[in-house]
Amino acid sequence: MIYLDNAATSWPKPDGVNEAITRFLCDVGANPGRSGHRLANEAERMRFDAREAIAALFGLSDPLRIVFTPNATAALNIVIQGLLPPGSHVVATGMEHNAVMRPLRMMEQRGVSISIAPCGCDGTMRASSVDELIRPDTRLIVANHASNVSGTLLPIRQVGDVASARGIPLLVDAAQTAGCVPINLGADNIDLLAFTGHKGLLGPTGTGGLAFRDEFDIGRLPPLIYGGTGSRSEHEVQPDFPPDKYEGGTSNILGLAGLAASVRYVLDRGVEAVRAYEAGLIGRLIDGLARIPRITIVGPCDPDRQTGIVSIVIDGMLCSEAALAMDERFDIMCRPGLHCAPLAHRSLGTLPDGTVRFAPGPFTTEGEIDQAIAAVAKIAGGDT
């Protein structure tokens, strides 16, 4: 079986993840922050391991400015719902996922106005397109780091320069890039970074979070969820310091135990090395698919300008039909459809039919890429 759906969730997970989860379940088991006994302390150490590893990954010195949430969507919602009062304005890009667009459309109902920076038909965008849309009432810039449809990388550092020059906070959706594209909050001028644990960070589902740049004043950002933290127990108001401010309720410590191990793997292998490895696979996949008649590749067709994603359209064939044939006849897992990102598809010109998406990961081999290319050639050649 060949798994090419790492953009939905990565699989397999690296060695150490299963062991860390099992160790938590069998030997620790307690609730961090709550009780002060040795098992609760050990649980907190495991959660802190995850904070430390992720802070190192994003170039942050203070691990407590990593806040855990169930996924990137929850992190995006904290910022979008927290920083946009009625009557304010927000700029987003034409490659946003529904994790950004749905909260933004909800905020529109609350009186927030939205401008979308246009993207080319390969998903690329100039940072000046964001700059041109900024108004006196703009309170936030939201930018997708890389599209989950085409893999297209947006010029995030240049967008960060624009945000910094204009004094507007930048929120980056790093769901597709954390762990496979180098990110440094300070150097990239990213104030707030939403990440997920189960894609490029190679951890379990149900993990994700929000990273705050040192300069961002968290006093500006209210929590979305209020509740028990184990701290300030005599007070009925939420603590005002991170991470507790945003971590009301018992956290997914089982998942975070696995995440600590998976991020450690990413750090040991090196994000640059993962990026180079995946670029090699993507280059091979693009070269092979480009030679097949009836296939159109969506996106930049350049490993330097996209993450580990290649999306295609097969002329005259439903993408769902192609994906079913890949699964049933060739044992290859890929994803057909709209990938929860109708805005990105509008930019790419692939509405309403969608694409077939191939997303190799850090454990995919070149041989598997070659098998996928051969399978697509057979399917596109009418050999269904």
Binding site: N41, E44, E52, P63, G230, S231, S233, F241, P243, D244
Partner: protein, 73 residues
């Protein structure tokens, strides 16, 4: 003189952070449930040797770990 001192912090995340910073500086440290007469803010506190109090607070300050206060135990 008291044998120990206890460092009070905001949360157990801060307690683990303080524990790591102090251990890396080769200072003796033990996490204990926060003595209820001292605070009810955070479930865990950091117990140190009273003789290490000055060195410990200096190390934590340098590492940017916020301390609520230090009490004799």
């Amino acid at each position: 003189m008291n044998k120990y001192a206890v460092i009070l912090v905001h949360s157990t995340s801060h307690a683990i952070q303080a524990e790591r910073v102090l251990k890396r500086a080769n200072l003796l440290v033990k996490l204990i449930p926060t003595p209820r007469h001292l605070s009810s803010d955070c479930g865990s506190a950091i117990r140190i040797d009273a003789a290490d109090q000055e060195a410990s607070t200096a190390v934590l300050k340098q590492a940017g770990v916020p301390i609520q206060r230090v009490e004799p135990l």
